[in-house]
Symmetry: C2
Subunit: 314 residues, 2 copies
């Protein structure tokens, strides 16, 4: 299987500049377990790293393809990323969401100018492909695409530029687009830096898959138990191949550890992270990882206000 | 009176680089009233912009002066800034705090390696000067010093570099070190950009002073009513002179408006701001300001966890 290359990611960096924020590495003098820097992707315009992959993918389409618009199926950060990127290009975007999606997420996607298409639960993918057939629009997948992986990889380039002697980079893992891109960039630019995945115990299909050397299936019902609602997907063969090639290790964290990381980030780093975005810091806090300079990627911050309030008051 | 110059601020930028984080401007697609960018100084290592002025001031001292250490009197962000900067230089720091200071703030200052000197309430300044006499250490004032102003001014340089066509920059005001530096940088680099101060209604001595063209005194008891505990100081003749020269206007905001801005920043920008740091956004949200591209400086994020929890749950 062809893997994304460093050159793909460097080309993506030129495309996403000016749309994705060039986030700094934040030193954490309060860090209790050795030097830590945060890569705050929760500060992107849509509150998550997904803008990088979505924008790079649309930028790689031809003018003719773009004229017909784009489609995505997602109720989360990827939906907002595709909607935001489509507006930057001045093209149409259809976002297919299940009819039980919280109103606040639908409104956020509409606010970026996208057309929200409601569908029956479990019919997102089917409905999205119907729209592709009806309109000729292009589907932008959430992670299973080389251009998406290359876009997310620009985070790894920036980390390698800002802290070339980092010892370990911690990355949340779910579908694996983020860690595939970051690990490809880091291992090609700073081979001595280790890249570790962090995953919720309750959705630890990637840990099981890496241990067995093949994709292991966890049921949707099992994966949906974690509060880290952005980490309930499973790798594709493409993202799994990148992880097998480049990822040095994986740890899992408990729900209480994820909550503690969200609270610590708010109180000490002045960052609001969603549970999915804070698992990397939970790994730093509660697991034995390679010693030395650690970087934790905070992948997103779109947490429900009620959940944030509950975590910060407990 | 000699004002700080653009050259002073440009020189300071070279000094603080590598210690102060080069914060990005964050675009806010959710902003309800015209285009808005945030300058998130709450992401500095000590959680506030004060690291810039403190570090620049110590960097400007001679080796002989530095060998004798530094003194500051503050229970807030300036204390942590001086302690952090002193440790970067490997020198001693005494921080004088009143004995009624919350334990959490004392611990934070000690964690940066400073020696905390407790004193009777109202005796901070006296005790600090005693230490200067006893030890030969240098006092680093919180705002009333050209090197402090020049350090804070590096924020304005960065804004002018990143968004040279900004129409208005909103800056919290208290002692005035921050706005003096920012306004000096902006008005010399991007003269078309307006610089507006934002102040709590309950500590509006600067608004009164600018209206009357002279320093107007408000009682400590009056100023202490605002929850924006970083904005309870008054300008000095030096910082007032900078404001008279460069600041285009000032607005005041209510306590409820400040709380609303803190909540909005947490929910939409994924940033934890202290009330003092959020007044700029309160000004953007609730006052009629020059139209066009607005930048709000988020000056700090060191809010008491209980207050943050209360604001986010109300």
């Amino acid at each position: 299987m062809d893997l994304v290359t460093l050159a793909d990611i460097e080309a993506a960096a030129g495309r996403v500049a000016g749309t994705a924020v060039r986030t700094p590495l934040l030193p954490c003098p309060w860090a209790p377990r050795g030097p830590l820097w945060l890569k705050p992707e929760n500060l992107q315009p849509i509150g998550a790293f997904k803008i990088r992959g979505a924008y790079n993918t649309i930028a790689r389409m031809t003018d003719e393809q773009r004229a017909l618009g784009v489609v995505a199926y997602s109720s989360g950060n990827h939906a907002q990323a595709v909607a935001y990127a489509a507006r930057e290009f001045g093209i149409r975007a259809w976002i297919v969401v299940p009819e039980d999606t919280p109103r606040v997420k639908i409104d956020a996607t509409r606010a970026h100018g996208a057309e929200v298409v409601l569908c029956a639960v479990g019919q997102r993918e089917t409905r999205a492909y119907e729209i592709v057939e009806e309109t000729g629009a292009t589907l932008v997948p959430p992670f299973d695409h080389p251009d998406v992986i290359a876009g997310q990889g620009t985070i790894g380039l920036e980390i390698a530029d800002d802290l070339p002697d980092a010892d370990v980079v911690l990355v949340p893992v779910s579908g694996g687009g983020l860690i595939s891109g970051v690990a490809t960039a880091i291992k090609n630019r700073s081979p001595k830096t280790q890249v570790w995945a962090v995953e919720p115990e309750l959705a630890a299909d990637t840990a099981a898959s890496l241990a067995e050397g093949r994709l292991v299936d966890w049921s949707v019902a099992d994966r949906n138990r974690t509060i880290a609602d952005g980490l309930r997907s499973q790798p594709s063969p493409l993202t799994f191949a990148h992880q097998q090639a480049y990822v040095d290790g994986i740890v899992t964290v408990s729900e209480d550890e994820i909550r503690a990381a969200v609270a610590l980030l708010a109180h000490k780093a002045n960052l609001v992270a969603e549970p999915s975005g804070a698992v990397s810091v939970a790994g730093y806090l509660f697991r034995d990882l390679p010693e030395g300079k650690a970087v934790a990627v905070i992948s997103g911050g779109n947490v429900d206000p009620a959940m944030l309030s509950e975590i910060l008051s407990s």
